[in-house]
Amino acid sequence: MLTLPERLLFALLVVGATAYFIRRIVVLVRLVRMGKPDPDHRLEHVWQNVVDMVLDVILQRKVLRKPLVGLLHLLIVWGFFVFAASTVNHFAGAFIDGFSLFGSGRLAAWYATMEDVFAVLILVGVLGLAFRRYILRPESLSRPSAESALVLTFIGGAMVAFLIDNAIAISLGLMEHADSYIVSTWLAKAFVGWPEGPLMAVAHLAWWCDGIMHLVLVALLFIPTKHLHLLAGPINLIFKRKRPRGRLVLMNLEDEEAESFGVSKIEGFTWKQNLDLLACIECGRCQDFCPTYNSQKPLNPKKLIVDLKHHLLHDGPKVLEQKATASGDAQESEVPAGPAMVGEVVETDAIWACTTCASCVEHCPMGIEHVDKLVDMRRHLVLMEAQFPEQADGAFRNMETSGNPWGLAPSERAAWAEGLDVPIMADKKKADVLFWVGCSGSYDDRSTRISVAMVKILKAAGVDFAILGSEERCHCESARRLGNEYLYQSVAQEILETLKQYEFNRILVICPHCLNTFAQEYPSFGVTYSVVHHTTFIDELIAAGKLSLAAASPCAVALHDSCYLARYNDVLAAPRRVLAAAGRTPARVPREGVHTFCCGAGGGRMWLEETLGTRINTLRAKELMATQASCIATACPFCMTMIADGVKDEGRSDVAVKDIAEIVAEALVVS
């Protein structure tokens, strides 16, 4: 169809676009590779990840968590695959008239229908998403960007041009399988009766629009836009870690070569962390579910990733350039490569706001790991600069010297157990179950009641258990998530020495943070314990018929899932089964299970003041109270404190906050 000059022009454009494409790829690959080696063996599960990725892409599993938006996006994704061949046909058709990958048989006819229908479906998707973005303006999409407008216009434009191009071709009788193009055939009616001259002119115009828009779309991939997610997203998913979400990378603090610990500059991230940034599609799901964003704090996980992405794309090349000159020239140029990552690109208040609840990570369709980046920045601030919220200073010092965050007497650790005849490991040396009580369970007046309830249950079930008593000390998980890796690691050695002295089969904990530490983190030290959260343990005891619970009159309970239990350690069913066994019917909580909403205490926030925005615990407590349940059940002492405070602040003395162990202990029938 095209004239020779047109063909030449098009060839030139294709060559130009390809050259640009390759140049951009090289830059992006270099930016990603600028990152440090990643401590995770990213290729360990590569085939499984590829399968997962293919399924995620084709079935849009995570995207479909928002059903309507997911569906519209799914139309575009599927259309994208259908149109891959169409694009080839179109480009080759510029030079070979009537070129088709599918020949001219039934396959081609069938494909023609697909193309035609999907062109419309894509348009529906594009218009739907545009309507959402520009008319509905959901909060998660924040500012409507020119970038998105560009992408949507070009995709939509390409489809319109495609349909018109086909319709004219049909009206001119140039199309094989014209009947297969259901939509185009219908559109062709509009051109019936047009004189051939103008018709041909419109046809050329439509062809060029279609072609150029395709070229631009491809190029757009590599101009730094969110369109890049088409390429970086799937690659990022392939390299997704299989390490448990609750396991932070164990830092090598003895590294003599290390000039710096933690991350303070963009070049401090690993290549995978860089790839994360490029994969972001800015969908805002992370921000939708983020407790800090939803309580008007400076941390917005989406903004965090987008700002870091722009920082990488804008200032990364300068770093590369500097490195190149520095390696050739002994004198290192000390020109700053751009704004400081910590403090300028990312506000320090944002860094400290994170509760490490990992809701963002859970909801990200692109497999981005937000939390680790924030912890890395905290690590830099604490280990290198000793800069952190002043309230953390006391907590750090208390955890170090007194073995608990409040600086209470280590000798008082087992005071809660006085008169309960609780066996101590130092006397027994050996027990089936080591009950690790934790700091809250040992000292906090409210939480000691959880410990007492647990002892009651253990005794009723005849479990052979013992506690460490004054030999127990804080494992400093919260200090670690505040960036104080040094404190965490030095304390871990102490705890490992203590545990080594005794024989036990399992560690029982009443705190999800203790669970996560011993089950997920301690394997990094080369030790593997069998660790069980008390809800799971009670569930097992009930299943084994070791507890008899009175069938109390059923009453509704709003279960608050702890992030470190549900999202980090997949403990979801046990708490529900236990509640049911105790005659409690779980009320429907708006955000539950892996979608749970943080109480505000994670990531060391328990020890910091929450002065910015509204209080996270109040938000959550209100949500739980809105279920009208007269009791809120928790399974974490931190959640207990936060939710109970939230309830108290609302003046609702009629709502009880109880740990699941307490609810079970109340229902216990002791013969």
């Binding site: 208390n398 600086g407 906090d444 007046d445 409210r446 020890w607 003041e609 108290k648």
Partner: protein, 321 residues
Amino acid sequence: MSVLLLLEQRGTLRQCAFEAASVARDIARGAGMELNAVYIGQSLGDETPALAGFGIGKVFAYENEALRYYSNDAYVGIVESLVKELDAKVVIGSATALGKELCASVAGRLGVELIQDCVGLSWNGGLKATKPLYAGKVLSDVEVLTAPAMASLRPNVAAVVREGDAAPEVVTRPMPEVSLRTVLKEVAEAAAGVVELSEAKIVVSGGRGIGGPEHWPVLQELCDVLGAALGASRAAVDAGWIEHSHQVGQTGKVVGPDLYVACGISGAIQHQAGMRTSKIIVAINKDPDAPVFKICDYGIVGDLFEVVPLLTKELGQTLGR
């Protein structure tokens, strides 16, 4: 052989000087020694009668405008020379901010032993002191064997008891020549009633039970009577009833006063972390199950708006303020 009493003044003689005088008299009597005192200041003026009844033989008054405020260089030299002149075997001072420094320097210069901040002092064949260690967690009964034996007495632990009305003889002495290595530049006396929270000897705190910012005066009146600093729990600060600078607790200030009065505070662990080292804790709360009653020494279960004003009144009468 005599006992030398260091009289502390801040313009006028301080209450602690009379407390120390009462104790010094009993020691001198027990040891069978005479008691003399030293006054260093601008002018003893007409305060001599106040020193009657303590069995003080002579008061050596070093009076000079330049001695009005404490000067380590001048004061230490005076006490040292007087100890030697009088052959003092016991030296008693007051364990105040300045008194402790003076005693420490004199002991250092004389090379003798000193027990600071005693809560009990007596003579029993030697100078016996009851001395709190580890911030009062442990008490020790110690005898000082050097000559002189030195001790400083904590204010407010001894009663002022006058026996008879024999006034001491005042021996006025000129200020000895001394080259001052430390020069006083400024004297700042904080406005009455403003006590820095973290260093206060008494703290009165309010929590959620206060009910609203309009009720602070109830506690402030108690603070005024006690010379206490005003604290608050996190709940009260979070509710916006008072600034964060008043917060006592894990995420606020850590205090360790002699007396901590918690009013309408439940006693959550985060609050406990900020006041656990207080010597005596008093709790006033209407909820008998509040955890604060497990960490207090004395508790009153009741409405703070009823209890606190009564307490303020009672203390006002007892303390004469």
